[in-house]
Symmetry: C2
Subunit: 760 residues, 2 copies
């Protein structure tokens, strides 16, 4: 039997049993009665909106897995049709999703023939992707009941036992995906398209951005390498080219983003706002325009909360800035001033402090940012996300760049002035050593390589460490966790004098799975324990990286080379992360990279200022020859910065103008779609013109041969008799075009005659 | 007879005999044969597209007036319907202009019933404004023949004898309009709405902008007055408030513009591009998307021409800048250095030079700008206009602001250094006076009031002069011209022994008009001689004025008070200009103030820099106490400017964010329209859901009471026998929601039982 089953098993390992979503359901020991009641409600709610359900035990004894699928194909179709009509109404699609023109004539035709037309439509005209099906299924599960959904909100309120709702990975696809990507240098549109079909546009946009950025990096990598060989660091030529590149990249991406959105048919989906179920409302008001009941939250209350962003940013600066500044000072003191005992150990002190405190503080601040954003109580998911991204950008800006800023703009120019104040440490240290004994210190000199070293650390070492952490840590964590669990279970089994097989290791009391399902269920249980994939983290990493390039690469022109290599690996490791280290993401749509675009623009703009300042300060080795800050010509520095910034803005204006004039496949597609609709409708309008032409009325053609005098005489007679209004008389003088022509020619002839007479 | 006619006449003087357009037709003496042939073609072309025509003699013997009207109401309706459908297709209207839902079912119903529905539609749902009718009539006259128009292009090619095509003024409306406006302080929305209905959105946008600007001026006028009393000139408080105001005004107008466009139903008409008939094409290509034949002009050729904008701007700077600089130098020399003979006359020399040369050079450069824009050969009217506006903005920027810039940033800070070089004049003058005799000069001091005087001149005197010129000159010109003409005709009549009446004064050989028409024709002849109204000139004036306020009002805080008064008059005088000094404008549509918006934004931004610099330089009386430029702390100046600019950008960002969140009547209208469509369509979709629910298929409801074991046993049997695919088996284990609930509850109970057992 085992032998006959193995090919079946191979097939099964790729098969998800048509499951759309898995709902992981927790049963806390203390609340099992409530959990049972809620479970009944869950299944009822799901089946009420049309889901078929199956329940199976989870990995641990206190969890269940509910498998759901859309029960009938026609339900799916009606959902898709509804969603597409909504898209059209919000301007996302150029035309209504009508199978053919005949479906407009709904009144007469029967429902059956309509269904036929719809079937044809889905089969031929616009096939349904997996991402679309999964998205709609998820929306059906989570949409509030009064809007026709099951109203399931994981982890909250009535549904607090629902741990997560997730789709299952398509293992066959994932395997093919990873193996294909690891064997090609260059990801093309079809690769991104595949991602879009499986994981939705939100994830696809990340990979599209990553790929676009990767390709664009080739230029600064090549130019940077040449600059490194020929120009050396702090070259203004490199700075100008780098800024120019940043502008072109930014503007290109803005266009590319629109282009992709059009190609993917998601342009403007930002307008279809997903409401946040966590939104708290003050009162229910009535929309003056639509007359619908809307949930109202006072904007002033929100503004009050938003104003907390100021103190929050300040707190970030103080906390993280304080940490970085302290470590920086200790490091400078130990490395460059201190010369006493334990120096070889003390050197690591700041690094250790940073490594321990920085992630801790960052995590704390990120939680604070989450709380704050929660308190701001946005109605829509997008607004919430944008506000949150803004806050974590502040945190990341400080942790990533403040160290280098300190070196470049405080340590080097003001070092001679400030370092003596590091005597604070001196005194502190002295207190711990033998009293009266003078601490051995070196004569201090500004270390000109410090800046370069720091930039290299952040752009090479930190990137590699980051990559490794991101990929290895969750994997290792899971392995360790699994091992610990197994050991514990083994112990408890031993204590219970266990005998059951290894397959039921984690849930000893559980009945064994059906053999046909065993592997599938095992997979589902594994996936239920994976983390959720958060694309924000990946975007953050790339934006921070772009910041290093834009702000500091003038210090070390090889920066882009390092990033080029890093990002090739990054794309693959992110794919791996999605495929094996995360739950399959819910395929949300998106029409852009969202709030990160602003962050990119900001960094690109700041790059022009910082690069100019760096070039100005460091061009000749160090900031000021004598090491005193007062030797720097402040007006020249400011002029350089001012000039660089305005040059940047001017270039941006020009590049924007040029980019706007370029054509792109997406825009062409949009144009052709619009054109097709226009053409169809204008053709329909021809009959109008025909019917209109029939009733053109008098005065257009015809008219007998007449002389002007005769005609005017006739009209005069009419007026004397008193017939007709003046308007009628006016327009009856010349009946038809021919008469007008005759009269006109007569007038012209008269003129000519007069002229000739005049000459005589 | 005269007595009985007078009431008739009164009525007639308001009556335009239903004329839509008047075509002024010239007959040059040398080409009267060609003119005659072209006249025939003209009448034929017009009547072919459905115009009724009447011809009458013009004012002079060598001109004709052709009166045209749309021959039938149904032609008008079909034109309007076509235009509205086009609007819908381009996204200008939210819904198709369908009279009711019944018109969608076109296939079955007859043409007659459709016409009825359309009649109802025009009468009730969307009445046709005069502006809409006139615009469509004009388009029908000028549209190329292959697109269904008459293809008449005034003054060019085949139609070079067509001097102009213009609608007639509605005297009654004009009289009411002017008298209403001169009696009210504040123009409300209905006033602007009337303008829109008569003269189209392009003109209405100008008045809406003017009114909005006027209202916004109240604040800086009040604040400026207070600042003038309390703070004095060069107050940084005033500068900050003024910049803030400029930002708020600019952002508000951007929103208002969109709002008005939506309210007027013209949002997005910019997308419906009017092709320029002057466009020259290289070749005819085929559009890859639509497959239509399109006219192609090489963008590289155009770019070459566009690059000439650089030299053009340079030429403007050199020519106008040179003139202004020379006059400036002469003025300084004469007023402040020279002390010799004829000083009282020589003082006027620079003013005379400027008054003569400045308009001449400006006119020349404007012609050059026209030529250049013509050479750039744009395909659409909007692109052409935008490029032209850009160029005249450069010219106006220099003529308006360069003088003040010279005083503020050259004369005052560098005066002590530069004035000695004015000895060039000294020497020149000396050559003309007795040799060896030393020219009497004063000891020179920087005149600190110079800047203030200059600003007051530009913001008060120049505005008044401008207003007077604009209004009086064309009136006077026309009067003088008429008198001269009359005198000439009188002479020629005398020489011919003239006897005919005064009414035929200008065209003695002309037969007298029909008495019913005489007055009407006289009016038409008068209007044919008026200038065309160009809204660009009025915009330019306002934008330049805004520039003075934004850039220099910190010098003299009363600036806004002067502008407030000026603009009250301006609105009325512009109305007068349209009503009596210009041909009635063709009622074009527009969805914004177009390229002037960019100019406003630029001036507002530049204002932040210039104000900061002015405050910094002049705060303490003069720029530098000793008069030497080297005493100015350049870094502090640059820092002030840099700070001001970034503060400006930050404020702009915030204001933009706030303004975007505001609701406005236009946006509400748009929302409610969209909502209405959405609601209608979603209601239609309900039947879909019903039909879908019927076919939900198995697995949703039902199921008998069963035990989990029995069920699983059953399934196992199925699998042993080999029936069904694994997917089927999986989903058949729990038949329906009830079974899932039962199984789930059993599992939960088991868990609870295990837990309890474990505890024992």
């Amino acid at each position: 039997m085992a032998a006959s089953k193995s090919p079946d098993r191979d097939k099964q390992s790729h098969c998800n049993f048509d499951v759309d979503y898995v709902i992981a359901y927790d049963i806390p020991a203390k609340e099992s009665a409530e959990a049972e009641a809620a479970f009944t409600q869950l299944i009822e709610a799901l089946s009420a909106v049309g889901f078929a359900t199956e329940v199976r035990p989870g990995r641990t004894a206190s969890s269940l897995l509910v498998f759901v699928k859309l029960a009938s194909p026609s339900l799916l179709k009606s959902q898709i049709y509804r969603a597409r009509v909504q898209d059209w109404l919000f301007g996302v699609r150029p035309s209504a999703p009508a199978p053919s023109d005949s479906s407009n004539d709904t009144a007469a035709t029967t429902t059956t023939s309509k269904t036929d037309a719809v079937n044809r439509y889905f089969a031929e005209e616009e096939p349904v992707t997996e991402a679309e099906r999964l998205r709609l299924a998820y929306e059906l599960i989570t949409r509030p009941r009064n809007e026709g959904g099951a109203g399931v909100t994981p982890k909250r309120g009535q549904w607090r036992f629902v741990a997560s709702v997730f789709p299952l990975h398509d293992r066959a696809f994932n395997r093919a995906w990873i193996s294909a990507w690891s064997r090609k240098y260059y990801l093309d549109e079809s690769d991104i398209g595949n991602i879009r079909d499986r994981f939705g546009e939100r994830v696809a946009f990340y990979f599209a951005f990553l790929q676009s950025y990767f390709l664009f990096l080739v230029f600064p990598a090549a130019f940077g390498f040449a600059a490194w060989l020929l120009l050396g660091p702090f070259s203004w030529v490199y700075a100008v080219v780098n800024c120019l590149w940043a502008v072109v990249f930014f503007e290109h991406w803005k266009m590319k983003e629109v282009d992709l959105a059009v190609q993917w048919g998601v342009r403007g989906v930002g307008r279809i706002q997903l409401p946040r179920s966590q939104f708290q409302f003050d009162r229910e008001g009535i929309d003056p325009v639509t007359g619908e009941v809307v949930k109202v939250y006072s904007p002033y209350k929100r503004l009050q909360m938003q104003l907390l962003q100021g103190p929050f940013a300040l707190a970030c600066v103080v906390v993280l800035g304080g940490l970085i500044f302290s470590c920086f000072s200790i490091e400078v003191f130990i490395n460059e001033v201190y010369n006493g005992p334990f120096k070889q150990y003390l050197t690591f002190l700041p690094t250790i402090l940073l490594t321990i405190l920085n992630p801790t503080l960052t995590t704390l601040l990120t939680r604070l940012a989450e709380k704050l954003t929660e308190l701001e109580n946005y109605r829509t998911h997008d607004a919430h996300q944008a506000s949150f991204v803004q806050k974590i950008f502040v945190i990341n800006f400080i942790t990533s760049y403040l160290g280098i800023f300190l070196t470049a703009f405080v340590y080097v120019p003001f070092g001679k002035v400030l370092v003596p104040y590091l005597d604070v440490f001196h005194l502190t240290v002295q207190r711990f050593t033998a009293e009266g004994q003078s601490l051995p210190t070196k004569a201090w000199e500004i270390n000109p390589n410090r800046l370069t070293k720091q930039v290299i650390y952040f752009t090479v070492t930190a990137q590699v460490v980051n990559l490794a952490t991101e990929f290895i840590v969750p994997f290792a964590k899971r392995k360790v966790f699994r091992t610990v669990e197994r050991v514990q279970t083994g112990l408890s089994e031993k204590s219970a004098g266990g005998a059951t097989a290894a397959t039921t290791a984690t849930n000893p009391q559980r009945r064994p799975d059906e053999p046909e399902e065993a592997e599938f269920l095992e997979r589902a249980r594994e996936e239920a324990e994976l983390d959720e994939y958060d694309v924000t983290i990946d975007y953050r990493e790339m934006v921070v990286q772009f910041g290093y390039l834009s702000l500091f690469s003038v210090v070390w022109p090889l920066t882009a080379c390092s990033f080029l290599v890093n990002n090739w690996v990054e794309a693959r490791s992110d794919a791996m992360k999605i495929a094996s280290n995360s739950k399959r993401p819910i395929p949300w749509r998106a029409d852009s990279i969202g709030p990160w675009l602003d962050a990119l623009g900001f960094l690109s703009w700041l790059g022009s200022l910082i690069s100019a300042a760096l070039v100005f300060l460091f061009k000749n080795g160090t900031a000021s020859p004598s090491g005193s800050p007062w030797d720097i010509r402040a007006w020249a520095l400011l002029l350089a910065v001012l000039f660089a910034e305005h040059l940047y803005m001017l270039v941006q204006l020009i590049v924007r103008g040029v980019v706007q004039k370029l054509d792109s496949p997406g825009l062409q597609k949009e144009r052709s779609e619009r054109y097709a609709i226009r053409k169809r409708l204008l053709e329909k309008m021809v009959e109008w013109d025909v019917s209109a032409a029939e009733t053109h009325g008098p005065g257009v053609t015809g008219g007998e041969k007449i002389t002007r005098t005769a005609l005017e005489e006739e009209a005069r007679k009419l007026s004397v008799v008193g017939e007709g209004r003046p308007e009628q008389l006016f327009w009856q003088r010349q009946r038809g075009a021919d008469e007008t022509i005759q009269v006109g020619r007569a007038l012209i002839a008269e003129t000519a005659a007069n002229k000739t007479e005049g000459k005589h």
